[in-house]
């Protein structure tokens, strides 16, 4: 019972703290303080997460590549002090970014060159407003939250375009073109891949979508959408589209360093560069949060008996898990070419998302099937998505396969 009490306290603790502070304020400013605290809390939590994500990325990539990763930075003014496993690296990086010279090319469009990093951070932060972080932690409980998320997220590519164009550098311009082509191609599959969720859950509100996943069979099999055939397919499609939307490897074409130096970031340095970097990780975190919310049960615990852990911890844990998955993918895969990227979107992702939509419709129509029919339902649903996947995949990779080689007769 004590555990339950502590748990229920922890569950609402952030809200309770906020209310305590708000009550202490004079009446007319209360609403302002109320929202400010929410904003500051989101900034603080995700700012910290942002600070340590690149460190985790570098450490994890290092380990994937059989290196150690950064492990040197210790405490300031204490040269031979403890190394702290390099955990102070983000602060060292921040100091470095802030003290670096900010170079603006003479031919650049100065205003846009300045606006682009500001805009991209602003837009990528906007998306956090509607994510349900916990059972009681929803910053803005919008009715059309999902739509809002995509609306706010769609503007980041605009900022990338501005950066690429304003730099007046050929590589940046090519990167801007690529960014546009990429967003035009992948906005569609990204949105289409989550439409089945809306269809099944019957709502655009993210909190309601999470609540719709809050059941367990036998107390340990969660009813997350990812554990259905259409949900799993949708999750994979979402994952690929999210990688493309957030310009992550293998879709990091706008900043393809092997041909375009750093793409739209070529002419950025110092703090402006850090802002782009920040926005990239904010965007990634927000998309991970959306993926977790839509497919992985949001803040729901995986097993019924694990519910004593506060819901916001589950959410953060899942988001971090998604981020690690993204890093792992980045550490392994190579980059697509721009025409292959758009081909993948239009010839593979879009048809599959549409088929998956039909699949979800089938799933919704057969909700009443029970007993052995349940097996039939699973089988049909699997077939609906796997067969087109195989066929389309075969078409996509037609003529490309590992080869066998002959040897010279000597």
């Amino acid at each position: 019972m004590i555990i339950a009490a502590i748990d229920s306290y922890l569950e609402v603790a952030p809200l309770a703290w906020r209310d305590a502070v708000v009550q202490w304020c004079p009446e007319p400013t209360q609403w302002l303080v109320h929202h400010l605290i929410t904003i500051v809390a989101i900034l603080a939590v995700f700012g910290t997460l942002f600070a340590f994500t690149p460190l985790a990325e570098r450490k994890l990539l290092g380990r994937l590549q059989n290196r150690l990763g950064p492990n040197r930075s210790g405490l300031p003014w204490w040269q031979n002090g403890p190394k702290l496993w390099g955990l102070t690296q983000p602060f060292a990086d921040a100091v470095k970014a802030l003290t670096k010279e900010d170079i603006v090319p003479a031919a650049a469009d100065k205003l846009l060159h300045f606006l682009a990093p500001v805009l991209i951070v602003a837009f990528s932060l906007l998306t956090f407003a509607v994510l349900p972080f916990g059972r009681h932690l929803v910053p803005v409980g919008l009715d059309a939250a999902l739509l809002y998320f995509f609306a706010a997220g769609s503007a980041t590519e605009l900022a990338i375009f501005m950066a690429g164009w304003a730099s007046r550098n050929k590589y940046s311009l090519l990167a801007a073109m690529r960014a546009l082509a990429q967003v035009i191609s992948y906005e569609l599959p990204l949105i289409l891949s989550v439409v089945p969720i809306v269809l099944i859950a019957g709502t655009l509100s993210l909190q309601d979508i999470v609540l719709a996943q809050g059941f367990w069979t036998f107390g340990f099999l969660p009813h997350w959408f990812v554990f259905t055939p259409w949900g799993f397919a949708g999750f994979l499609l979402f994952l690929v589209s999210a990688l493309a939307e957030s310009n992550r490897s293998p879709f990091d074409l706008p900043e393809a360093e092997s041909e375009l130096i750093a793409g739209h970031l070529t002419e950025y340095s110092g703090f402006k560069y850090a802002l782009f970097f920040m926005a990239e990780y904010f965007g990634l975190t927000a998309l991970s949060g959306l993926g977790v919310t839509l497919f992985l049960g949001g803040w729901q615990a995986p097993c019924a008996f694990l519910q004593f852990i506060p819901s916001w911890l589950w959410f953060m844990g899942k988001v971090i898990g998604m981020l690690l998955l993204f890093i792992w993918i980045r550490g392994t895969l190579l980059r697509l070419r721009i025409d292959q990227l758009t081909r993948l979107a239009w010839q593979f992702m879009v048809p599959l998302t549409l088929i998956n939509l039909g699949n979800a419709a089938f799933w919704s129509l057969t909700a009443g099937w029970t007993g052995p029919l349940q097996l039939v339902r699973w089988g049909v649903s699997l077939a609906i998505i796997v067969i087109p996947f195989v066929l389309l995949g075969r078409r996509l990779s037609a003529g490309r396969h590992p080869r066998t080689y002959r040897y010279a007769a000597s």
């Binding site: 809002y148 995509f150 503007a155 311009l173 546009l180 035009i184 025409d339």
Partner: protein, 172 residues
Amino acid sequence: MTFALIIISALILGCAAVAMALRNLIHSALLLIGSWAGVAAFYLWAGAEFVAFAQILIYIGAISMVVLFAVLLTRQGDAPEPVEFPSLSRFVTGLIAGGGVAGVLIGAILGMPFDVRTAQSAPALSVKELGAQLMGPHAVSLLVIGLLLTVALLGAVLLASDRRPDQPEDTP
């Protein structure tokens, strides 16, 4: 409330007017995107959340991309050429026509006593109700719009495709 509306209006009109007067196409396009964002803010102000998000998603997410793509694809060299006004007389004609229409409209609006609903709170219309409306009384229009979009997509692809009959299809 009215104060917010005036700020939003100033944003919309300012962006649009400057955009139409600039010679740099990219700046025009970006300012117009700002103007569209202002319109979305107006929808939010008016309480039409769903429309506001749709406006952002479609105008800022999609149409702006198409516009910028068009600007970039039709550029000469690495920067778009400054777009001059065709001629002074045409500009003056445009101004006179626009000013005339504006005068008529403003006069009509200010002169007309509108029967204004007194309720200050925005009417609540949930997404569910909106969906019911769309699929119920407006189902036919929805189908027509879907058809229109499909046809537009196909038409755009055909129009913009570079492929002449004598060119073999390039396989990337």
